[in-house]
């Protein structure tokens, strides 16, 4: 079934090519792009069925030589974590295309160009998760920035150039340091084996035996790249700008998908390749993680712009993910991976709903809204549901992951866990406050009743507004997410079963065992 994986890489690229020729006909471009993204989704489902949770560490492996002189190969394969991430990308892209169906692009830009870039982004991102050659991973890690650079810089808001360059600079520099570390690992392999290789499995074997000083330096190179990408505080400042300036669909991709490459990298590269350094440096990473939870949450409450708000919410969530990864228990690890999945779904939903709010009001400033539930009750309900999964209410998907991260990290890192648990209260604060300001109270705000009404004006409840509730297309975009949010909230086991063996293997590579073990008689 390796063809499925290859097809997953190729189909969006073909789609991008076809769509790129349809720059004259926006409607056709949208339909074709949607069709290709749906094919990709079907392929992802096939990939899920082809994957055996209790099989090999890396499955569906396939590849060809690329730069034989340096032992670089175009080598792909997936584990449970990569599978989950690929699946969620394939799920979100059609929804992003559907949500942006009527979005106005900047003058002179065509849907063909925009959607072509989106599909390229999808292909490259799938490839990043599927790469099992460290050099290939690095190259894709950087290549991933290029379509995004053009998406933000070409289709974004007023400060789009600034945001695009900043995004690129940050990630690119991080990647370069990772390259230096990757080459360091290559050099070690070449010393030890007589010939250099970038093969992930080989490097894991070679590098994980290195002395802890070497490991520490190599670790730091990778870590910085991943910490910027994830992003962890204080390497986060590119995200709010990128999220705020990007068109809403691109925000979904940046916040919902791209930054998972950071935490994915931690699990796939940092922990197995540098187990000693990971254990030694874990307390420092955990400080950043927990600081991120509190910092992101507090800043989210202080934001005036909805899209920046979303970015800070994500920063808080990435704190939880990092906490789970560096606590080294299977529950916390599984929690983190499912958090990566659920964050994509929940935050993806939240961003899409906020996008629908902005599409109606024409402003992303929170203060431009008020009392919207009166005119758009269904939209209000969706914002509330997206908010509730963001604050990890039991019954929604995110609760399972947050609960696993916290209960799993408590046995090894009780103090960090308790501090992070405070984030639960703050999450309730920022989510419900956002909802309150946009949806409740009397109908008010520039966006809803017109700037001419003057500051502090309140809408006339009797007067009809032009703001409507969700239309059929928007319902179709959100309905699958609602179903998934609840389904994974009540019955998350199919996903946990896929993740658990991979996380277990990762922890074995680190050389730790769970502090809480299965009781007798269970």
């Amino acid at each position: 079934m390796t063809w499925v994986l290859i097809a997953l890489l190729v189909v969006p690229l073909v789609g991008a090519l076809v769509v790129a020729f349809l720059r004259k006909d926006d409607k056709k471009a949208k339909l074709v792009a949607l069709a290709f993204s749906l094919v990709e989704l079907v392929l992802a489902v096939l990939l899920w069925t082809a994957y055996d949770p209790n099989g090999d560490r890396i499955q569906l492996a396939t590849g060809v030589d690329w730069i034989p002189a340096f032992g670089v190969r175009l080598q792909f394969g997936i584990d449970g974590i990569a599978l989950v991430m690929i699946a969620v990308i394939a799920l979100l892209i059609p929804l992003v295309i559907g949500a942006g169906w009527t979005e106005k692009l900047p003058a002179g830009r065509s849907q063909g160009g925009y959607l072509s870039l989106i599909l390229i982004q999808e292909a490259v991102t799938v490839a990043v998760f599927a790469a099992t050659d460290v050099f290939l991973f690095y190259v894709l890690f950087e290549v991933m920035l290029i379509p995004m650079y053009f998406l933000i810089g070409g289709y974004g808001g007023a400060r789009r150039q600034y945001a695009a360059v900043k995004f690129f600079l940050y990630s690119f520099l991080g990647g370069l340091i990772m390259l230096a570390s990757a080459i360091g690992a290559y050099a070690m392999a070449s010393d030890e084996l007589g010939k250099g290789t970038f093969d992930w499995a080989t490097l894991v074997k070679v590098v994980s035996d290195a002395d802890s000083t070497t490991q520490t330096w190599l670790f730091l190179g990778f870590f910085l790249a991943f910490a910027i990408k994830a992003p962890l505080v204080p390497f986060h400042t590119w995200l709010p700008d990128a999220a705020a300036e990007a068109p809403i669909g691109v925000t979904v991709i940046v916040v919902g998908i791209l930054d998972k490459v950071g935490t994915f990298g931690m699990l796939r590269y940092l922990l197995p390749m540098f187990p000693e350094a990971s254990k030694n440096l874990a307390p420092y990473v955990l400080v950043l993680a927990v600081a991120g939870v509190l910092y992101g949450s507090l800043l989210a409450t202080g934001q005036r712009d909805m899209k920046r708000f979303l970015a800070y919410v994500s920063i808080a969530h990435f704190g939880f993910i990092a906490l789970g990864i560096f606590s080294f228990t299977s529950q916390a690890g599984v929690g983190s991976v499912s958090y990566m999945l659920n964050h994509s779904i929940s935050t993806g939903m939240l961003i899409l709903v906020v996008g629908m709010v902005i599409a109606r009001g024409g402003s992303s400033l929170i203060s431009d809204y008020g009392g919207m539930s009166k005119v758009a009750p269904l939209l209000a309900g969706m914002l509330l549901l997206a908010g509730l999964t963001t604050l990890s209410l039991p019954g929604t998907n995110s609760f399972v992951s947050e609960f696993l991260v916290l209960i799993g990290s408590f046995p090894t890192r009780p103090v960090f866990t308790i501090i992070a648990t405070v984030g639960m209260v703050l999450a309730a604060l920022y989510v419900l406050w956002l909802y309150q300001r946009i949806m409740t109270g009397p109908l008010r705000g520039d966006a809803l009743i017109g700037a001419a009404a003057g500051p502090g004006a309140v809408g006339d409840p009797e007067k009809k507004t032009t703001i409507g509730d969700l239309n059929k297309r928007e319902i179709a975009v959100l309905a699958p997410l609602v179903v998934i949010v609840l389904a994974l909230g009540f019955y998350p086991q199919p996903v946990l079963d896929v993740i658990t063996p991979t996380v277990g293997a990762t922890l074995t590579e680190v050389g730790v065992t769970d502090p809480v073990t299965v009781q007798e008689g269970k």
Partner: protein, 645 residues
Amino acid sequence: MTEPVVASGVASFAWLLLALPAFGAAVLLVSGKRADKWGHLLGSATLLASFGYALALFFTTLGVSNAEERVQNLHLWDWIDVNALTVEFGLRIDPLSLTFVLLITGVGSLIHIYSIGYMAHEEGRRKFFAYLNLFVSAMLLLVLGNGFVTLYFGWEGVGLASYLLIGWYQYKPEAASAAKKAFLMNRVGDLGLAIAIFLMFNRLGTTQYTEVFSRVSEFSSAEVLAITLLLLLGACGKSGQFPLQAWLPDAMAGPTPVSALIHAATMVTAGVYLIARSNPLYNLSEDGRLVVMIIGAVTLLIGCIIGCAYDDFKKVLAYSTVSQIGYMILAVGLGPIGYALGIMHLLTHGFFKAGLFLGAGSVMHGMNDEGNIRRMGGLAKFLPITFVTWTLGYLALIGIPPFAGYFSKDAIIAAAFTGEGWRPWVFGGVALLGAALTAFYMTRLLILVFLGKPRWKELKSEDGREYHPHESPLTMTVPMIILAVGSIGGGWFLSSGGRLAGWLEPSLGELKEEHGVISHGMVGILTVALALVGAGLAFLLFGRRKQPVERPARVAWPVRAARADLYGNALNEALFARPGTWLTRALVFLDLKGVDGAVNGTAALLGGSSGRLRRLQTGFVRSYALSMLLGSIFVLGALLVVRFS
């Protein structure tokens, strides 16, 4: 602790209890406007069906002669299963949970029926019933769940339903704020519950009741103390106990049936359930229980004192609820001599307080939604049924025999007088004082609302209408009558022959009896005497002269303090809200200003770290890395030059 048996027969369908109202909620939410015509009927019908099934289940369980077999476990599915951690989604059907199930579905059904009339003129009534159904479903999960995580699920679920219903009139900013405040303060309590769950998993590798309770001896005494206190924090949040009591009075911004069901009869008593359910843990920690008792005693006084000063009908009742739950918490804090007493007061209180709230709703319904008792007076003859049922609830609450509250409250006060040293005198004394204060503020309410001369004849309500008080329709009065019957006979029925305590034994253990420092009979006499003193004092102060419509501004400092919630809100504001706002503003500022610094910092770090690596590795690596670096900088420069125009 009685080990559960696998649920069979009628009990194997216990999931229907939750599923029926949940199904109702789902249908109502998905159908939208189409459900406007029949939404309230579906909502009520699903709950009545649930109640019917609950009765069948109750009598089947009662028919099981061996009390040991009255505890059953129904496994539904494994909810979260990762290696050592298995969280079951299952139900525990035992006398304690069944007692709550009957209360929730019974009172819930009555309040659904009442709401058909009360909410008749509301736009989107179907949504109201959807939320009510959602609440019932979550509340049933809370009490039926067979582990601490399923309890937590229900716990947060009722929090959500409460949020939605407090914020029902969400176009009113104060309702939206009250809803958010309730959810937030509850989450503070949830923090405690969550960390207690982590502690259990850390030591035992499980969070299921059966295993946790049978292995409590494996905890160290420090862990037991920590867990009992953390669970108490959770209880304080949900049950409006000190120091997390401030949300409950604000929650009265919701429609009155909500106040009756959620914020009087069921949800707010979840804290009492939690402590009673966790009795194997509390039995081990005397210190933990002492803190529980202190919280209960402090809260019951706070509630009474503030209740004396408020002029808002529902808020007085809300503080009364805070105070009565204080009694229950005090009771369960007493341990084996008090668990069953706490539950008994919870049940009688559920009946008479729900009735009192529905009465308040009926009055407000007939008075243009007026809530200020100073604008009422003399309403008895306009709302005769409401007046009679309300008065019966009133007599039950202030503990006049033979009404329900007398039996349950008197038993708690007597139990509070047991023990050694200062404890019986302090806790018993506070409980007695509370009884007097309760009679005082409730009599004040009775006089200002129903008796005396009407003060509303010359006035108009906020929306400019004149007041035309009238009795409510049958859908509203019938539930009030049924609840009033419970207020009359409920206490005697539950307590005679230790009926309730015996039934609860498989869940709570045997109800121990201890002799107090003063005899039970003496306590009974004192309770009634003090209640009469309180009521008499209120009559002297409020019943004999005309009360002003505007509340007097020049009052003594205790009244001022009570009117300001004993400065609870001010304290929250000063300790959390304001510093939090400042901190957030400072951080937002720093985050914006720190951008350039961070970028420069990254660049500096880059130079440093690759330099180290260069020294570490061979010359080959150095040249390679450097050339890549230069190449990358070139690409980067190119991207910077080719700007979008």
